[in-house]
Structure formats: C-alpha cells, structure tokens
C-alpha cells in the first residue's frame, strides 16, 4: 500500500479581525495609505491571525476509508479545502496520487435556472469530468437520482431532496481515486442515504481512497476503520474508530462521560444537597464514553446530603443530538424512597439495558429533587454527561448485518418469525 495522500507539515493561517474579516474597501485602503503609508509594509498590521491548521502531518494509504472528526473550527474543513485545492497552505506541501473528487457541498456549480440535464453537464465539468465522460454516464446518473421525469425541469422547481439527489448522483459518478466528503450524507431520505452508503462502499471496494468528515459519530464508527481527530488545527488522535471517538467525546467536549466537582461551592446544588460526580459506567464499573448498543450501562450519581431530613429523588433526562428528549427516569424503588435522609455521601445508579436505545450521541441532564412537603429542585445540571452509543455490524444487534442508517430513537432487539403457511398459488385463508 502506498500513500494516496501525503500531508507534509501543512499549516494554514487566516487573517481575522478588523471590521471586515477578509476584504477591505477601496476607501479603507486609500485612507490607510494616506494616514500611515508604511503600515501595510510592516508585518502584523493590526490583523489577528488564526492558525486553522498547524504543522499537520498525515499519510493516508490508497484504499483507506478515513473518518475525520473534531469540534467546529478544528480545521477539518480547512484540511479538505487544501486537499481539494480550493485554498493553498500557508506553509508545507501536500502530495496526492490520483484524481481527486471532493464533495464539500452538494450541488457544487448547480444553477437554479438551468434544467437538471444542463446542470449535470455543468456540475460534472466543474467537478472535473470530461464532456464525453458525462455523456457516457448521463443515463446512469439520471437513473441513480431517480429524477427521469424532471430532468428537463429547472432545478429551482426541485424540492431540496430532489436537488440533493441529483447533485449527489453527479458527484457519485465522478469516479475519483480519492474522494473527499463533508457531511453530505446528512441530507436526503433514509432510502437515498442508503444508496449513497452503498455507492461509497462500491467506491471503497474498487480500492479508492475516501476521506469522510462528519459529526455523525455513529456513521463514523460504523464505516471507518481509521479515524483522525482534529482539534485546534492539530491532529490529536489517529487510530481505530472506537478509541478515537472515545478520546474525542471524553476529552475534547466539555462534557464527557464523567464529571466531577471538587470544589463543593461550585458544584450544582443548594444547602440541602450538592452533586459530587456524575459518570457513565459499564458493567465492570469503568467509566465508559462509548457504549456498545448490546450492553447495559449505568449512570452513576454521587452526591452529598448536607442537611438531613429531606426525601430526595435523583432524576436523569436523556436527550439525543437533535435535542429530542428520549426519556426521563427517576428513583422509584430504592430503600430511600420517601424517606428522610441523614447527612452522608450517596451514590445512585440507574441501569439502562442493552438493545434499547438507538445509536448516537446522548446527553444526560441530572437533577435532584424533593417532593415533600413541596416540590423543590435542589440540584440541576444540564448536559452533565455525554456519551455515545455505537451499533455493531457484527450481526447480533437489532441492525443485523445491515450497514445503512436506521431511523428511530430506540432500537430494541426483537424476535421475528416467518413461516410458510400455504404453498404458492393456493388461496390463503387466515
């Protein structure tokens, strides 16, 4: 295996600051020259600089499918822009072997006033296809997009889904040796997403190299064998998907799988009770930012009761990435239910069974309440813990051996039975 992409000590600097981030008006320039004619000659002329990438070294082998993750502003998009030659690195060099296709946005070069047909040619040419090549693949592209009926219609009359389908179809037929994608799979309906994943799979099967930037940890862990984590323009972690996603979620996000308050005064709570620690744990008792969908996991709250005599109820609410509340749970069955508690440090743990929740990023909001004599919220911490549920393509989870996206916020493992009830051709009665 040789390197398809060789990134050699690449840095990218952006100038920011001033009223206008990138451009200035002609008047400003003239004015600037009049008031301080030599200012522009000096370096660091009042601009702040931002290193979107600093000293990045990375080698990606031919045929690898590499996921790139990191918080916003980590430099992922800048990297793709450099690789796709939209912008140049400030220092350093990149060597690419083979034709590059980039999908930094769907519908690159689409013009709303042109028809689907015209846009296929235009977009194809912009993405680097030859006219003859587009003509050869035209029917295939149209068939893939399922837009045969609308191909002579201006794309401005398309729904956003149709638009994306056509755009992706063009790009998918580019047949680059290196494909770079930035969150394009986040669009389109489930069926089309599946088609895109299949296409990506095909591309990979042909030994092509794919760089896949996404915030969708579920897709990243499922599809990629190697994941690179960027933070502040640097490569922080490079390795297997689980290890890197775990690293990302636990250290890069402010909220990780464990949260501890050492200073009692800063801990969420009041004079009655204060939180000490919240963590996500696996069956072995280890803090676990990445949970196997098939395994049960616990959320453990540690808190100190400072004032005796209150009947306390810990509550945890679970939200997914879209902000949908999945469910709320509170303590109903321990010996402390409706009992005044003495001063002490307690832990309460709730166990969530395996094969219940769908894959994805979840956050837990934690609170401690008392309901007697009145309902009082003693402690509340939004986003107290964050963790990731990952599905497995091993075949024994609810997804079986299907690798595409699955809708729904729960993913129970259910029993299906299929029986032959009559021979073919006979009438089936109940």
């Amino acid at each position: 295996m040789y390197a398809a992409i060789k990134i050699d000590n690449v840095s990218k600097r952006y100038r920011i600051g001033g009223l206008h981030p990138g451009f200035m008006t002609f008047r400003e320039m003239i004015g600037g020259v009049v008031t301080s004619p030599f200012r522009n000659l000096k370096s660091g002329n009042g601009h702040q600089t931002l290193w979107a990438l600093s000293n990045v070294n990375l080698e990606i082998g031919q045929g690898e499918l590499v996921g790139i993750i990191g918080p916003n502003g980590a430099g992922k998009s800048t990297l793709l822009k450099i690789l796709s030659r939209v912008t140049k690195p400030t220092t350093g060099e990149v060597e690419l072997l083979g034709r590059i296709g980039s999908l930094l946005e769907v519908g690159t070069g689409f013009h709303p006033d042109l028809t689907g047909r015209e846009n296929i040619f235009l977009s194809g040419a912009i993405l680097g296809m030859r006219r003859a090549e587009i003509e050869r693949k035209f029917d295939e592209i149209v068939a893939f997009s399922e837009l045969e009926k609308f191909i002579e219609t201006s794309v401005k009359w398309y729904s956003s889904g149709m638009y994306v389908r056509l755009a992706f179809s063009v790009a998918a037929h580019l047949e680059p040796e290196i494909l770079m994608m930035d969150e394009v799979l986040a669009v389109g309906d489930a069926a089309f997403q599946q088609k895109c994943l299949d296409k990506m799979h095909d591309i990979r099967q042909q030994g092509r190299t794919i760089l896949f930037v996404s915030h969708d940890m579920a897709a990243i862990t499922r599809l990629c064998k190697r994941v690179v984590l960027f933070e502040n323009g640097k490569v922080i972690c490079d390795g297997g998907p689980r290890e890197v996603v775990q690293h990302y979620l636990s250290s890069s996000l402010k909220t990780g799988a464990a949260r501890e308050w050492t200073n009692q005064l800063e801990a969420p709570g009041d004079q009655v009770v204060r939180l000490r620690r919240v963590r996500v744990r696996d069956e072995a008792g280890e803090t676990a930012p990445v949970i196997d969908i098939r395994k049960p996991f616990g959320i453990e709250l540690a808190y100190e009761v400072l004032q005796e005599g209150h009947a306390l109820v810990p509550v945890i609410e679970f939200y997914n990435e879209e902000g949908t509340e999945l469910f709320s749970t509170h303590d109903t069955n321990t010996e402390w239910r409706r009992k005044a508690r003495p001063r002490a440090v307690y832990t309460s743990t709730v166990w969530i069974p395996g094969n219940l929740l769908a894959e994805g990023s979840l956050v837990g909001h934690v609170s401690i309440m008392s309901h007697f004599p009145a309902t009082v919220l003693h402690a509340y911490e939004r986003n107290a813990v964050a963790f990731q549920i990952v599905d497995s393509p091993a075949g024994d989870s609810a997804r079986g051996d299907y690798i595409g996206p699955m809708p729904g916020v729960i993913r129970p493992l259910l029993n299906w039975s299929t029986d032959i009830v009559a021979t073919s051709g006979t009438n089936y009665k109940g």
Binding site: V86, V94, H111, S154, E175, Q205
Partner: protein, 308 residues
C-alpha cells in the same frame, strides 16, 4: 480480525467490481480498480511563485465552454424579450446620440452617415463595457464555486467575456443590416474584422481579470466601475470621430487601446485606411495589460477562496 479482512479486500480487487470498472475506463485516465493512475498532484504553499499552467487550462478547456454556455443560457432564461435586449440597447443609444450629435450638434463623421458611425462604435464598445462589468462581478457572484471546488479560476471571468461574444455576434447582424441599408461597399478591409474583435476580447479579458481580482479584495470597486466605464467611453472615439479631438489631446487616444481598436474596426467595416501606427501601439498596450493582469490574477488567485 474484522479489520484485517476488510483491509485485505480493499487492496485486492473483488471479482465483482472488475467487469464494471474496466469498461468504464477512458484512454489516458485509468479508471480501473487495480491500477490507480499515477497522476501526481503537488499542492505547494502560498509562498511558491506564480506560474501559469497552460497544460491545466487545456485540460479544463471544456469547463470554459460549459461556463460560457451557462452564462448565456441564464441570461436569456426568464427574460421578457430575450436576445432582443442585445439589439435594443445599441439601437436606442444610437437613436439618442443621432438626435444629439446629428440633429442638435452637427458632428462631422465624414462620408459615413452618423447612425452607422455610432452603431459601429457602440456595438464593439457595449461588448467591451459589458464584458468588463460582468467579469468584474463574476468571481463574487460565483463565490459558491470559488469556495467549494478547484478549477482554473481564470475561466470564471473568461466565461462571462465569452458569453458577451455571443451578444456581439447578434449585435453585429444589426450592424450588417444597417450597412446594407446605407449601401456601404464591401472591401478587403472587412477581412480584418475578426482581428479587431479578437483584440477587443483580449483587452476586455485583461481589464476584466484585473478588476475581477481587485474586486474580490476591494468590494467598492464594483461601485466605481460603472463610472470608470462611462468615462472611458467618452474618452474613446465611439460616438464621435477621432478627427474632432484637438491636437494637444491626441496622445490620449494613442495610449487608449479602445480608441485604436474601435477606429480600426470602423475602418475595416467601411473600407477607410487603417492607422497602422495607432493599431500597433494599441496592440502592444493590450498585450501588456493582458500579461500584467494574468500575473496579478494568478498572484491573487489562491486567496480568492479565503476572502470572497
């Protein structure tokens, strides 16, 4: 375990993908799964010097065609009168100028009737003015392309000039009609018409590239441009003959390449003698502007995506 097998399949070719991968391959570009083309791309840093990669321009030549086609199609879609605008603009202008310079002020245009005189200048001038205006705005209006995908950026302003050539073609038909109406004799000079159109195109490209590159960085150039264009028209013998310019201002016409090209265009249409010296100077200036603007454009090109 799982990881190992997957890596292995990605390197060797699965038999199922072979039949479809091979026939798709194009001569020159190896599309096959086994042999990845050895096309090596080196992305150098900003510090690297300016070079114009003509091989790359050639390789992307079809894109210029598609971008030009887009600019033409988009212009005439959803318009009330479509191509008619290309005719209406010069016709109305000629009517107004004929009224002013032929009826109110008696301007001597020699043997040429004033409407024909004015139209022959305006047709070429409108091409130049529109080409420069459109290419100036082209990078900004195509910012979605500039920030998303790589291709020679030169083609964006170039395409808007290419689209202008189509308009010129239509307007030229009008000019021929008027020439026939006035009974202008056909001479060998007519053979040089394409040369003047080529010169004007190159000049428009030079000026357009320069102002496009600067407009990305200095946005208010867009507002100054219509004014500059207007001034330029009055500084060129478009609606008046060069003969009315006082001797002490003649040098201005000499250094103004538009003057030489418009005069030459008119001479080739009407069979009047050429001013070869003036033409040579105009050609030299046009060429110089083009070289400078290509350099400046390439110099700025890599920053477009960052500031547009």
């Amino acid at each position: 375990m799982d990881l190992e097998t997957n890596k292995a399949t990605s390197r060797t070719v699965p038999p199922t993908s072979l039949p479809q991968a091979v026939p798709r391959s194009e001569p020159g570009v190896t599309e096959s799964a086994v042999v990845i083309s050895q096309r090596r791309t080196r992305i150098k840093s900003e510090a690297a010097g300016v070079e114009i990669n003509f091989g790359e321009l050639w390789q992307y030549r079809e894109l210029l065609y598609f971008l030009t086609l887009r600019d033409i199609k988009v212009r005439y879609k959803q318009t009330l009168m479509g191509v008619a605008w290309v005719i209406i603009q010069p016709v109305l202008t000629v009517l107004i100028f004929t009224l002013v310079f032929n009826r109110f002020v008696r301007l001597d245009t020699g043997s040429l009737p004033y409407p024909l005189f004015a139209l022959s200048g305006l047709v070429l001038w409108f091409f130049f003015a529109n080409a420069v205006t459109n290419s100036t705005n082209s990078l900004l209006s195509n910012s979605n392309l500039v920030t998303k995908v790589y291709f020679p950026r030169l083609f964006i302003p170039a395409a808007s000039i290419g689209a202008g050539l189509v308009d010129l073609g239509v307007a030229f038909l009008l000019l021929i009609a008027l020439g026939v109406y006035y009974g202008v004799a056909v001479t060998v000079n007519l053979a040089l018409v394409p040369l003047f159109i080529l010169m004007m195109t190159l000049l428009a490209l030079g000026v357009g590239l320069l102002s496009a590159a600067f407009t990305v960085k200095y946005r208010d150039l867009r507002h100054a441009l219509p004014f500059i264009i207007q001034l330029w028209m009055f500084a060129s013998p478009v609606i008046y003959p060069a003969s009315v310019v006082p001797q002490k201002w003649k040098w201005l016409l000499l250094i103004n390449p538009v003057a030489g090209i418009v005069e030459g265009f008119r001479a080739s249409l009407t069979g009047r003698p050429f001013d070869w010296l003036h033409l040579a100077v105009s050609a030299a200036i046009t060429f110089t502007i083009l070289v400078i603007s290509l350099y400046v454009f390439r110099r700025f090109e890599h920053t477009f995506a960052d500031v547009v």
